[in-house]
């Protein structure tokens, strides 16, 4: 179990993002249950590390952690909600001041975890969306501020509902009798499968174990609860089982400008195998995950370290590859299911250009 591994949770080398993932999606254990219980208590203040600079009485990190503690909420949405709260509780009196405050809050959030792509992307998108035609339309500061709050809330709503929209859009692609391969535990993909099960579709799921997180175990647990036939597959057996599979559905940590995705380690492998066997690979990702990165190869990413537990002690001389995610180029992806619609990978850049330029 993870708790047996030395200095797991306090390891500063683990990106906070993955600490959260551990907390949320780790193997079901009593510790996890206890944590979940305490997390859903809204009055409880944050327990995880939040040694941040409190420049005002209101700390955006606190707010962020409060939102983030909900297991169902995506981290990016939590960030958006936190930023919206910044606006509403801001004591600024001019637009310029407000925008500076927002910028500071956004930078703080981004600095809290530099490896999380969706966090950065969502903050940037929020800033862009909210302040796009900000002060020029209104002379009255209060009306401008209320307009900003309205926009921020709307953005939060959209992001929150994004999963439902994606689930709805992807129903057409799941047909009766199909076999779906999923990797790791993505809440979006889970939503998709949940809705399909709810719509009484007959399908079965192959679920990879997803080492080192072993989040696949949790997903299989959840799917079993929905009475979906699920089969656990170790990561190395993906090619072996690929000919029985009809489609692959994965989530994404971030969607990059080339149209490729950054996701949990192992996604690239699965996509390669699927492509060589002509199986479609679908990605379910919300639109706030579109980021302005452009990796050229695997090493071009911002590294996110995640120590791997092998169950036995490893001598120090042995090096371990501990990157937590990989990059899948767009030529291996078939379609993206987003809340903007069902898109091809080349449309991502189109959207980004329209938004940012």
């Amino acid at each position: 179990m993870e708790s047996e591994a030395p200095t797991m949770e306090n390891n500063p080398k683990i990106s906070a993002y993955y600490q959260t993932r551990l907390a949320h999606f780790g193997v079901v254990s009593t510790e996890w249950l206890a944590q979940a219980q305490s997390a859903t208590n809204p009055l409880l203040s944050s327990s995880t590390d939040s040694d941040t600079d409190k420049d005002t009485n209101f700390s955006v990190i606190d707010e962020f952690n409060r939102w983030r503690s909900h297991p169902d909420l995506a981290e990016a949405v939590a960030a958006i909600r936190a930023l919206a709260a910044v606006i509403s509780s801001s004591k600024a009196s001019t637009m310029m001041q407000l925008e500076i405050e927002l910028k500071n809050a956004s930078d703080t959030l981004k600095a809290w975890d530099t490896t999380s792509i969706s966090l950065t992307a969502a903050s940037d998108l929020f800033m862009r969306y909210v302040t796009r035609t900000s002060a020029l339309e209104f002379e009255d500061f209060n009306s401008a501020k209320s307009r900003l709050i309205e926009r921020a809330d709307k953005f939060g709503e959209i992001s929150y509902k994004a999963r439902k929209i994606i689930a709805m859009l992807s129903q057409d692609f799941i047909f009766d009798g199909c076999t779906i391969l999923v990797h790791g535990f993505s809440r979006v993909v889970f939503e998709v499968l949940k809705l399909a099960a709810h719509n009484k579709k007959r399908f079965r799921v192959f679920c990879t174990e997803g080492r080192p997180d072993r989040t696949g175990l949790r997903l299989s647990h959840e799917l079993a609860k929905l009475d979906v036939p699920v089969k656990l597959v170790i990561d190395s057996a993906v090619a072996y089982t690929m000919d029985e599979v009809d489609m692959v559905i994965v989530g994404a940590d971030g969607v990059v400008e080339s149209g490729g995705i950054i996701n949990m380690m192992g996604t690239y492998q699965i996509a390669l195998v699927a492509k060589s066997m002509n199986k479609p690979v679908y990605v379910a990702a919300e639109s706030y995950k579109f980021a302005r990165h452009y990796p050229l190869d695997q090493k071009d990413l911002v590294p996110a370290i995640r120590p791997v537990d092998f169950g036995v002690p490893i001598p120090l001389k042995v090096d371990v590859e501990c990157s937590a995610r990989d990059y899948t180029p767009p030529q291996y992806l078939t379609l993206l299911f987003t809340d903007l619609g069902v898109l091809t990978p080349s449309v991502v850049s189109d959207e980004l250009i329209q938004l940012y330029l």
Partner: protein, 629 residues
Amino acid sequence: MDARRAPRAVIDPIVRKVGFFTPPDPIPFEFSPSANSLSPVMIPPPRHSSENHDLNSRPSVTSPSGDETIAVSGSCNSVLSELFPAPMLPAPSPKIGNGDGGGIVASSFPSGGFDLTVVKASGGVPVCKLTTVSVVNADSFAIDEREKPNRGGGSTMEGKDQAMNSKQKKDKSSKAERRALQEAQRAAKAAAKAEGNKASGTATSVNVKSAKAAKAPQKVDNTSVAASEKKGGDRPSEKDRKKDVPHPRMQYDDKSRVEKAKRRAVVNQTEARNRVELFRHLPQYEHGSQLPDLEAKFFQLDPVHPSVYKVGLQYLSGDISGGNARCIAMLQAFQDAIRDYTVPSEKTLVRDLTAKISSYVSFLIECRPLSISMGNAIRFLKSQIAKLPLTLSESESKSSLQSDIENFIYEKIILADKAIVEHAVTKIRDGDVLLTYGSSSAVEMILLHAYELGKQFRVVVVDSRPRLRGKLLLRRLVEKGLSCTYTHINAVSYIMQEVTRVFLGASSVLSNGTVYSGVGTACVAMVAHSFHVPVIVCCEAFKFHERVQLDSICSNELGDPDVISKVSGREDVNDLDAWANTENLQLLNLIYDATPSDYVSMIVTDYGMIPPTSVPVVVRKYSREHVWI
């Protein structure tokens, strides 16, 4: 509508042979020393009498020639003037059967629609013809018949096909009657010429004509034609001067059009012999004869501003090469020209200046065909001229235009390069081996900046004959202290194993993601792709174009084939010295090639890093912002 199609004596039009082969009839008519006036290739003269003005205006246009020519040209003019408001006007001129009436009919048929759209789109610029002409955009030649080249502004892909298949469309029906008419007119013209030659006093026209006559014997006929044209076409001179401007992407397989272009050309070029069959639609001239000729005429060509003339000479001699350098030189020359420009009386600044710019552009085209980025810059300039409010005084307009050009150069080229460098250096890591091909200014800036930032990398410079531009880049890099490797393109698959990134420059990027760049770029990109090495293309956004090109053949530039046959420093390699005399040997020196988008990983522009599939998005956004069209 190809009634005016000249019969192709050289090739059988039904069977089109693709590839390199010698034409069955080895004597093209243009090289026969005897000025055979019965050649079926000759253009019926009166058609051009009104429209064909040389760029040098002939102020001393004198007494009109025979009545016939005047009458014909008169009708020609009137129809032409009508053509602007009502492009669909059917040709009123009688069935002269020659290019005149036929030309009108021909041009009204297909280009009416196109010109209309252009007229509308250009915001009501009355000089719609000019805007069409110098627009180097998706226009291919819409028509293959012998229409005025400037009318070919309409653009369709089918038009391109037509131009390519032009050989196959041959209308033999009216050839005989056309020939008869030609003879009659030629006789009249000979009489006119006799007077005309005495009457013309301008040194320029005589010089040009005599020079032309000296240049190529076949032009003896042309001079007679030119003489009568010069006289006959005095009237709506500015309108006709507009028509002088040939389409920048004129197809050169039609002899008639080529000769027409030659007649109004300032630069005297002789067509090369031994031309490769597949590339006959591109212009190819004998190199080496133009430069001294132009230099001698420097003080005689009034209509061409000295700065523009100088830039043209520099293009011809190869002193200025490289997309950005050419573009900047041209724009600065235009700045000078605008500064020294004064509006003639009774003319509006907008129209006249646009006409002048177009004439300069056609002069530059004769020196060296335009690159796509230059075409975009010219389009920008013309749209700026067109958008000048009429209330501005002349000096204000001129200064506004000059500052526009200044801003264009600064924003689109200099600042854009800075933005490109900022983005691209993030893709260079320590320990990288970067490969570059040829000499691109953007790539050079990137490498130097990365070196200044202290990144540890080494550079492989790949070069190729005949221009060997990589040597200049190599020298500049080594001076700054970068560690470089130099190799030729035949070793690129060997060296690619150790390369981690490839940086390429581009002359232009087309809408389907195709990169149009110096010849050899496609080869390097393909090898890189097969070795899974990412290919990064660095190109300013103003070089993007909405045209689509699928191969390197339909649009390209042919360089001097003699440089292939010689190897500098190796005088003993002289096997190809007499290549021109060998009938079954043709040398081909292409300047550009097209790299498909599959081999390009990323394009770095001043808009950021985009995948090749997003080029049309940028083009769309760009043209919306700047309203070029």
